[in-house]
């Protein structure tokens, strides 16, 4: 059983273990891991000052909220003085001179970074197979084919695998179309994507600016709440950062629900799903009904358009966001006789297949003659999707869906892009609407692989969302399965 942040803090406080010993323990495990969940591990020497200061605070009896907790950080967050690659060749030699807003908050709260987690290149992927540093392996195995290496999901596959295998207490990931929730589901852990605008995007390598959100991957809902407390803050330097008043998300997380809760289950999401997936929903229903939760059928009008909308808008924004990677001011520069050659060679050789593909899609849907039919149309449909959710939220407090349409599949299995994109079918709509979503592990498939369920809340209602997720987590008792 993995320890929670609170339990670890207690052990540190009670001197059962020191901050340094704790770090050593996780680092040894990380170094011997075979999942390739880290692009970079930080030796103790890199962190020795922080470790010592953290220890001092424990001894003085005034530890910070995440003091001494070893965290993994997805290699998409710019970490000052620490190589940040976005799992891409083109940034494989890049060391930022600035710290992202979110990771700075984690440092301010005393956490210690054990390393940079592997991920899909530029966060583009659902299986962590596009990384320049090689694929990540899911620590879980299909009990019927235990020799198969399975995907952990993506793009935050490294983060999910690391948390699942216990090489960090929690990891900071990003979610654009499901990149926190989907790998969390496939690795049997918790993954939270906050409301768009909750957590600053400043210093995060941008993929799709109107969709990217930072969020925690953790072993428990409570741990997710604790990390959310740290990172969920307004940032003036991010124009899309929301200025609403934040709350403490961990206080009262295990309290009884004080009112009747209504949860909608989209019937169209459950059409044609496997028995395994269906049972996750059924078990969740059973678990929560006894707590004064009512379940109703709801129906979206826009489900069949969500993936198309996403796969127009996200690549479009990405094609523009990735234009800055040219080998001129930073990153890997390839040889070239002319300046144009340098651009062409650096970019072509620096980006992998999937990134190249998405840049091309993006350039296409924004180009003259196609902008109205694709990009503009997708933006309009996005509004329809947002309105669709609001219509449903008029009636219900939360929406419950499976997180993924399938369990973890074999590395190399899904070569066709579109079949890969369909992994995101349950997570993408939430992203398009900007709503908060959390995935918790709900059970095992017939192959013994973890499956997750997703709760979707209304804008900025993370506190309530975490409460219902914590309740479901308790009742479903995944860790005992």
């Amino acid at each position: 059983m993995k320890s929670s942040i609170s339990q670890i803090k207690d052990s540190l406080r009670d001197k059962k273990i020191s901050v340094e010993e704790l770090y050593d323990e996780f680092l040894i495990k990380a170094k011997s891991s075979k999942t390739n969940s880290f692009n970079l591990l930080l030796d103790k020497e890199n962190n020795i000052l922080s470790i010592k200061e953290s220890q001092k605070r424990y001894e003085n009896g005034n530890p910070l909220p995440l003091d001494g907790i070893p965290l993994g950080i997805k290699d998409l967050f710019c970490t000052k003085g620490i190589r940040t690659t976005a799992s891409s060749k083109i940034l494989s030699n890049f060391t930022p001179n600035y710290e992202s807003f979110v990771t700075q908050k984690l440092l301010d709260d005393g956490s210690i970074f054990i390393g940079k987690n592997n991920c899909d290149e530029f966060a583009m992927g659902s299986s962590n197979e596009t990384s320049f540093f090689g694929p990540v392996k899911n620590p879980w195995k299909n009990k019927n084919v235990p020799t198969d290496d399975l995907v952990p999901g993506g793009s935050s596959g490294g983060s999910a695998a690391a948390v699942a295998e216990g090489t960090c207490v929690a990891s900071m990931g990003t979610d654009t179309g499901g990149s926190i929730r989907q790998p969390a589901s496939l690795c049997g852990i918790v993954g939270l994507k906050p409301t768009f605008g909750s957590c600053s995007r400043w210093g995060i390598v941008a993929f799709a600016s109107s969709l990217d959100q930072a969020g925690p991957l953790t072993n428990s809902v409570e741990d997710a709440a604790l990390i959310l407390n740290s990172i969920n803050k307004h940032d003036f330097n991010d124009t899309t950062s929301s200025n609403h008043v934040r709350e403490d998300y961990s206080i009262g997380i295990n309290d009884k629900l004080d009112q009747k809760i209504k949860i909608g289950i989209p019937s169209d999401y459950l059409k044609d799903v496997s028995g395994d997936i269906l049972s996750q929903i059924e078990n969740t229903k059973k678990a929560l009904i006894k707590h004064n939760v009512e379940f109703v059928d709801v129906e979206f009008k826009t489900t069949e358009y969500a993936l198309s909308t996403y796969y127009i808008l996200a690549p479009a924004e990405a094609s523009s966001n990735l234009a800055r990677y040219d080998g001129i001011r930073y990153g890997v520069r390839e040889e070239g006789k002319s300046l144009d050659d340098i651009y062409l060679n650096s970019r072509t050789k620096g980006f992998g297949d999937e990134v190249t593909r998405r840049i091309l899609i993006g350039a296409y849907v924004l180009s003259a003659g196609y902008y109205d039919a694709y990009y503009r149309q997708a933006q309009k449909v996005r509004r329809l999707i947002k309105d669709d959710f609001q219509r449903i939220f008029n009636d219900v407090d939360f929406i419950l869906t499976p997180t993924t349409p399938n369990e973890a599949f074999k590395i190399g299995d899904k070569l066709d892009p579109i079949s890969m994109y369909k992994n995101d079918i349950y997570t993408v709509p939430t992203s398009l609407a900007g709503l908060p979503g959390i995935s918790i592990p709900s059970g095992l498939s017939t192959n013994g692989l973890p499956l997750g369920i997703q709760f979707i809340g209304n804008y900025f209602e993370e506190k309530k969302l975490l409460q219902i997720a914590a309740l479901a987590e308790k009742e479903l008792n995944f860790n005992e399965q």
Partner: protein, 478 residues
């Protein structure tokens, strides 16, 4: 070359705004700094960086909206213009496309007495790019990003201009207005104001031709040269049976010729889309009204006022209003004395400007000396001293050598304006001049000058020449 060709020109003027910091980053907006001194991570397009808008740029755009008779659009959107160039770190320029902040304005230009209204289609805010230095080394270019992100207002006219002179007149009027409202410093050598000229030719009354764009002209001289050259070039092409290709041209300042930029394999497609890192601008009426109060009096209004209310000559009024600091000096002087503005104006554009030019001063440096200047002018206008004496004293006053009245006393320059005294002198001077007197009465005006000179000499130059003239005439007519 047949004579019934005419040119059709539209101008895109880029004006750098006079803010302290850049449009989307808080780096300094300064010219002439050390390379890459004014560059932060946002400007250099580093991973994860985000833009934050400088509201002063919006205010300057609104001011310009009032000054150039634009519709000020409450809703406007920043969009990304995507293309690759080494001086464009993000790989896109943040600009405005579908929803610019200003639309449908105009300015009246005065081209050698002919008034013409030049309609302006739109003006929008955008980032400036960096600079590449190509001529230091044969094999390499060097990139300085200081200018990246400097706020620009791009002002796009309708193709209402039909000659190089009109273009220069338009651009200098724009420049004047922008400087008056403190939106741009108008320094063309430093690149504060640049123009792209779009020129096509057509037979008089014929259809519009294909236009070519000549980029980045930063002096009136080059604008004139480029237009003249391009006009001829296009006519030559057409008259020899060719077709004009829509090209982007550069003007070679050393040869005086335009040439097409290296042709690209595919045409530009900027793939504009709203910048997802920014929110649309939504101005309130309050915000717009607040800016209106800071616009101040515009050059045309000042010109009209000087001519109508102050009775100043049109040409002199033009000189005074050409630069705001001239007008400020003038208006300050008027407010401090009862000397007629027309009188002050003449002295200003004459001896005072001459002094300024000779001594390489800023016009505004005289603002602290207006009391002394107007005191001096009053002495002249009241006939206490002669015009000539005034001119003599002026430099001393401007050099801070003392108060005018003191200097006059010191140098003994008071005029003799006592009619009685002068009459005596004049009568004396006329003694023995019967021959000249009859010459005058016979119609010779030159003799008058001779007599005035003789009297002035008799007064050792202190006689009031006007009065002498007057009294002489009275005497001579008898």
């Amino acid at each position: 070359m047949s004579n019934n060709w005419e040119m059709v020109i539209g101008l895109e003027v880029h004006a750098q705004l006079n803010t302290s910091s850049k449009l989307f980053s808080s780096s300094p907006n300064q010219f002439g700094s050390e390379p890459n001194e004014n560059v932060n991570f946002i400007d250099s397009g580093m991973p994860g960086m985000l833009p934050v808008m400088n509201f002063a740029c919006i205010e300057m755009a609104i001011k310009t909206g009032f000054a150039l008779n634009f519709n000020i659009n409450k809703y406007s959107v920043f969009e990304r213009k995507n293309y690759f160039y080494p001086d464009l770190p993000q790989g896109y320029q943040i600009s405005q496309f579908e929803f610019p902040i200003l639309t449908e304005g105009f300015i009246n230009i005065d081209n050698e007495g002919n008034q013409k209204k030049i309609r302006i289609e739109r003006a929008h805010l955008e980032q400036d790019a960096g600079k590449s230095i190509h001529d230091i080394d044969p094999k390499f270019s060097f990139i300085d990003l200081n200018r990246v992100g400097t706020p620009l207002l791009e002002i796009v006219s309708y193709p209402d201009l039909s000659s190089a002179e009109e273009v220069v007149s338009y651009m200098s009027s724009l420049r004047q207005v922008l400087m008056y409202i403190d939106v741009c410093d108008g320094n063309m050598q430093e690149g504060s104001l640049r123009a792209d000229v779009n020129l096509s030719v057509r037979k008089k009354g014929g259809e519009l031709g294909t236009r070519c764009e000549i980029k980045n002209l930063n002096s009136f001289k080059f604008i004139r040269q480029a237009i003249e050259y391009e006009f001829k070039r296009q006519i030559d092409v057409i008259e020899s049976g060719g077709k004009i290709e829509q090209n982007t041209m550069l003007f070679d300042t050393s040869t005086g010729e335009t040439r097409a930029m290296r042709s690209k394999e595919f045409s530009h497609d900027y793939r504009y889309f709203p910048d997802p890192d920014l929110l649309p601008v939504n101005l309130t009426q309050d915000q717009i009204d607040k800016v209106k109060t800071s616009v101040g009096e515009l050059p045309q209004a000042k010109l009209d006022k000087f001519i109508k209310d102050y009775n100043v000559d049109k040409d002199i009024a033009k000189i005074i209003t050409v630069e705001k600091q001239n007008a400020i000096l003038f208006e300050k002087m008027i407010s401090e004395t009862d000397v007629k503005p027309k009188f002050i104006a003449a002295w200003l554009v004459g001896d005072i400007f001459a002094f300024i030019k000779e001594n390489n001063l800023e016009v505004s440096s005289l603002n602290e000396k207006t009391k002394e200047i107007t005191d001096l002018l009053k002495l002249v206008s009241d006939d206490v001293i002669s015009n000539k004496a005034g001119k003599e004293i002026l430099p001393k006053v401007l050099n801070g050598q003392g108060k005018p009245s003191d200097i006059v006393k010191e140098l003994g320059l008071e005029q003799v304006s006592d009619s009685g005294e002068l009459e005596k002198i004049i009568d004396e001077a006329l003694i023995g001049e019967e021959e000249n007197i009859s010459k005058f009465q016979g119609g010779s005006d030159r003799v008058l000058g001779y007599f005035v000179g003789k009297c002035l000499k008799a007064t050792k130059g202190k006689g009031n020449p006007k009065l002498i003239n007057k009294i002489l005439l009275e005497r001579l007519k008898k």
